[in-house]
């Protein structure tokens, strides 16, 4: 476990997370409005979303499917019977004056997500529950000194709230958890996990206790953290703050806090925010959610291979290193890309050409793998050319550059630029002879003992053949010749 050491004490850090993940359905949870991001304010608001008199909610079944998928993906229990409750409070971005959520009988209970701690050891984090609820609208306070603006586009978008047990012990673990969860949700296509767009947000509950004790300390909730970096910074600040207070003998007050992006500190929200009695009761406009076991089973059968399983398969069946496997599966798009290479060419080449060669070019150009100008088919073709000795590995790098720039395929680039490897023994021998003839002094030096010059000769042969000679053949013939 990670601890925070102060002058006086050592404290264990206890963290529980509540992650809000927008379910990526086309329509909202209880209305037909679009959930598309970035639309003009209040252009995706139906009469139901605006809570006009007489309007009633209608359940988007696809949202439930995706939430069930998420539950199954983490090995949780799907409650065939669950209830929608009203969470009552007043705020301008909450048109109904209540949020439709789930309180006493959520859709999903339990589950587990495996993360890696600071020492790269796997650690299981237990999930308390997942429930489905409506997102609220957006309040914009900073556009006008005297007015607040409300955008209801987000109001009613389906959310999964994923709650962990307080088993995380450091900001590193918290970050690892969110990354893993995000990856799983992307794999099963339940959420796009785009924290910048707000499709994934996190509240962190943080408390400290002296190392060796088991009783929980008072926790503070830091709300609406919307990047991995912010999660880590906020937790870091908060643990420091609480540690100082505890050292000074001060009592930690249970508070809701916000992370200030400017000062990188957490600060308390106004106190009256804490005194909420939500008066939960089952929403009488909706029937209890009753699912058939066959419905759940069908979804289970449709789950794709999840990241952990994929990683295991790469390691055991294909002897890929754990490090490489982790890199590949870390992103759904790169895993899909890799699956198009796997089994169709040499595995090691596939790994290298994807994770070293292509990835570095993508990173340099600041392009995501899903937007790669080089498709998996194209990369496979390039690798096949290398395997068949049509081009050398070195030439292939240049070819990849050109593929990256132009989007053209490997075969046509190799052909149009005449980059085919020279494997003709006679030609190679001729080049070798030419090089040795032109460098007779060096040959003498080599024969006199300067073995390093071998590399020079290889280089000269490659130069002579414009890099196209098959290096293995060059090496062999050169050795024989010398």
């Amino acid at each position: 476990m990670a601890t925070i050491k102060t002058e006086k004490n050592e404290y264990e850090i206890v963290i529980g997370l509540e992650v809000h993940a927008q379910i990526n359905t086309k329509s909202k949870l209880f209305s037909y409005s679009s959930t598309e991001f970035g639309a003009n304010p209040n252009s995706q608001v139906s009469f139901i979303d605006a809570a006009l008199p007489g309007m009633l909610p209608i359940l988007n079944k696809e949202a439930i499917k995706k939430a069930v998928k998420a539950g199954l993906a983490i090995g949780a229990k799907i409650n065939l019977f669950s209830i929608f409750d009203r969470k009552n409070y007043f705020y301008a971005d909450l048109p109904q004056g209540y949020q439709i959520s789930q309180f006493s009988d959520p859709l999903v209970l339990g589950g587990v997500i495996t993360i890696t701690d600071e020492n790269d050891h796997p650690k299981n984090i237990n999930i308390t529950r997942i429930h489905v609820e409506q997102d609220a609208g957006k309040s914009i306070h900073d556009q006008n000194p005297a007015k607040s603006f409300i955008d209801l586009n987000r109001s009613g978008i389906p959310l999964m709230e994923i709650v962990t047990e307080p088993e995380l012990r450091s900001s590193h673990e918290a970050a690892s958890f969110v990354k893993k969860l995000r990856n799983i949700l992307r794999y099963i296509d339940s959420c796009d996990g785009d924290m910048e767009k707000g499709s994934l947000r996190c509240d962190a509950n943080v408390s400290l206790r002296p190392v060796g004790t088991t009783e929980f300390g008072t926790r503070c909730e830091i709300k609406n953290l919307n990047s991995i970096k912010h999660i880590q910074l906020a937790i870091a600040y908060e643990t420091e703050r609480q540690a100082q207070m505890l050292d000074n003998g001060e009592t930690i007050r249970q508070q809701t806090r916000l992370f200030d992006l400017a000062t990188l500190e957490t600060r308390a929200m106004r106190d009256k925010e804490d005194a909420h009695d939500y008066r939960y009761f089952p929403d009488p406009d909706l029937l209890p959610l009753s699912l058939e076991q066959t419905f759940v089973d069908e979804i289970r059968n449709s789950l794709p291979e999840l990241p952990d399983k994929k990683k295991e398969r790469y390691i055991t069946e294909y002897s890929i290193t754990e490090y490489d496997a982790e890199v590949i599966i870390a992103d759904k798009s790169s895993a899909i890309f890799f699956e198009n290479l796997l089994g169709k060419c040499d595995t090691k080449l596939a790994v290298t050409w994807l994770t070293s060669e292509l990835f570095s070019r993508l990173k340099k150009a600041d392009i995501k793998i899903s937007d790669s100008p080089v498709s998996s088919e194209n990369l496979l073709e390039l690798i096949t050319l290398i395997e068949k000795n049509v081009i050398s590995g070195k030439i292939a790098k240049d070819v990849l550059d050109k593929m990256f720039q132009t989007g053209n395929d490997a075969k046509s680039i190799v052909k149009s630029e005449g980059l085919e490897q020279i494997t003709d023994d006679t030609l190679i021998q001729e080049s070798i002879n030419k090089v040795l003839k032109n460098n007779s002094e060096k040959v003498a030096e080599y024969k006199g003992g300067k073995e390093k010059l071998f590399g020079f000769f290889v280089g000269q042969v490659m130069k002579e053949t414009k890099g196209k000679a098959n290096p293995a053949i060059v090496n062999k013939f050169l050795k024989d010749t010398l």
Binding site: F47, P53, G54, Q96, R279
Partner: protein, 494 residues
């Protein structure tokens, strides 16, 4: 000169199809009555004269082309808690007094699709909370009926007081209201009309502005049982946009009106025989039971043991749901907004809702908030839900022994508008009617007698879920024998 506004829907359909009268004539006649008598009665909040005449013209065209639909040319009044597209819909509340819905409720759309004509929007207790129509922002509605030797204006009952008053005074051929705890049956009882609360889920609630979501139902009020069945035929139907709407085949509710009731078993619940009820009510009830016996039904004593808990259960559940349903009236997106320079969001809420809501609404929101609040939820709301289930089980057991249950509709007759009953006395009005809402069962009230003051008293029949056809059958049989004529009642207006 015949008064065509006095005819039943059944009679009007006949005359319209025979072209003895036109829809336009009929509509004009009702509009004239409204002009003449609405100022006194205050049954209508808005009158849609132009729209009505336009619809009448269209109806006449259709009738002439032989394309008449089941309610073609029948002019109706609609309680002002049904959203009517582009027509002001207020719920008789200041907080919605400028609200014009951009959509039509499903039930009213069904009526227009059946050829009915909109005369206007009817007065009611604010947000349907009340049993006297005295809490309306637009002032009280008067009962067209008065007592024998006292011409003080009386309440028409509530919350669908405007609906009852309008039908009773021939200001429309029929009306729809809503019934959450008796809000159509009690007014029907006070005005000698027939009112039914259909099974919960029979009619769509989309566009019916919510009071208590698990109790509200659209409810027709008419001069006769046959008229009532014709109205329900047009109103009912599954609506996928209402998750509580039941996917059940639409029937012709008039189908068994002429069937006899020989061998049917009618239950008389002993717990409804309360101390201190007017003797006339008990007499009316006994009389109805005897009539049913004479028609060949078997009358059986039954027990509904949890009856005494019905009214408190109703008040806990309905106020809880209402406190949440009315949260959306906050001055932010539509309706009344009361605010001053420098106001915070809370200031805006407090000013708007304080001014916008009447006292009864505020009272119920506070009670509802209380019974849901932390520390009290288990003792009140959760317990009330348990009792609701027990009450439902009482009726389920009873229906193993009988086909329908006969009870009085109200423990009293219409009282004076100026009389100020206490809140508890007011809530007492509902004791016989709330169980039908709590259980979802269909229940009908028909006029069955008068008291010493010559004021009408209603009798109620309750039957199993989705058995409205049976309910109408028994009610029709009873109606025929009772031969209740309202010609002998004293009227406020000529």
């Amino acid at each position: 000169m015949e008064d065509i506004t006095n005819y039943t829907i059944e009679e009007l359909k006949n005359k319209l199809s025979k072209k003895e009268i036109s829809a336009t004539e009929l509509t004009k006649a009702y509009l004239d009555n409204i002009k003449k008598n609405n100022p006194e009665l205050n049954a209508y909040i808005s009158v849609t004269e132009d729209k009505a005449l336009q619809s009448a013209t269209n109806s006449d065209k259709r009738i002439n082309n032989g394309e008449a639909r089941p309610l073609e040319g029948i002019p109706l009044g609609i309680k002002d808690n049904f959203c009517t597209k582009d027509i002001k819909t207020t719920c008789a509340s200041h907080i919605l007094d400028n609200f014009i819905p951009p959509y039509e409720s499903t039930v009213t759309r069904n009526l227009w699709n059946n050829g009915a004509i909109l005369l206007g929007k009817l007065n009611m207790d604010e947000f349907a909370m009340g049993s006297s129509n005295t809490t309306s922002f637009y002032g009280p509605t008067k009962n067209p009926i008065i007592a024998k030797d006292n011409n003080s204006p009386l309440v028409p009952g509530g919350s669908s007081g405007g609906s009852a008053s309008a039908v009773c005074a021939n200001l429309c051929a029929a009306a729809i209201g809503s019934d959450t705890g008796g809000s159509i049956r009690q007014p029907a009882s006070f005005t000698a009309l027939t009112g039914i609360k259909p099974t919960y889920g029979r009619c769509s609630r989309l566009g019916l502005i919510a009071f208590a979501s698990s109790l509200d139902q659209a409810a027709p009020i008419t001069k006769t049982v046959t008229d009532n069945a014709l109205m329900l035929n047009a109103m009912a139907g599954y609506d996928p946009n209402d998750s509580t709407s039941k996917k059940i085949d639409v029937e012709d509710f008039t189908k068994n009106l002429n069937k006899n009731i020989k061998g049917l078993k009618i239950g008389i619940p002993k717990e409804y025989q309360l101390e201190g009820i007017d003797t006339e009510i008990t007499k009316t009830w006994k009389n109805a039971a005897n009539i049913l016996k004479s028609l060949g039904a078997e009358v059986i004593d039954i027990s509904l043991p949890h009856t005494e808990y019905a009214a408190p259960t109703y008040y806990i559940i309905s106020t809880a749901e209402a406190s949440s349903n009315l949260s959306r009236y906050d001055g932010v997106r539509y309706g009344l907004r009361v605010t001053e320079e420098g106001d915070s969001l809370n200031d805006l809420y407090i000013r708007t809702r304080s001014e916008g809501f009447g006292d009864e609404v505020k009272r119920r929101i506070m009670v509802g908030t209380y019974v849901l609040s932390s520390g009290y939820y288990d003792a009140y709301y959760k317990k009330a839900q348990k009792l609701r289930r027990l009450i439902t089980e009482d009726f389920n057991s009873a229906f193993n022994k009988v086909d329908a249950i006969l009870t009085p509709t109200t423990p009293n007759a219409a009282f004076a508008v100026n009389e100020k009953p206490t809140n508890l006395e007011m809530y007492h009005n509902d004791i016989f009617t709330v169980s039908a809402n709590l259980t979802g069962l269909p229940a009908i009230s028909i006029p069955a007698g008068v008291n010493k003051k010559n004021l009408p008293l209603g009798i109620q029949l309750i039957s199993p879920l989705f058995s409205e056809t049976l309910l109408y059958q028994i009610a029709r049989n009873l109606e025929k024998e009772l031969e209740f004529s309202n010609l002998e009642l004293n009227k406020l207006i000529s």
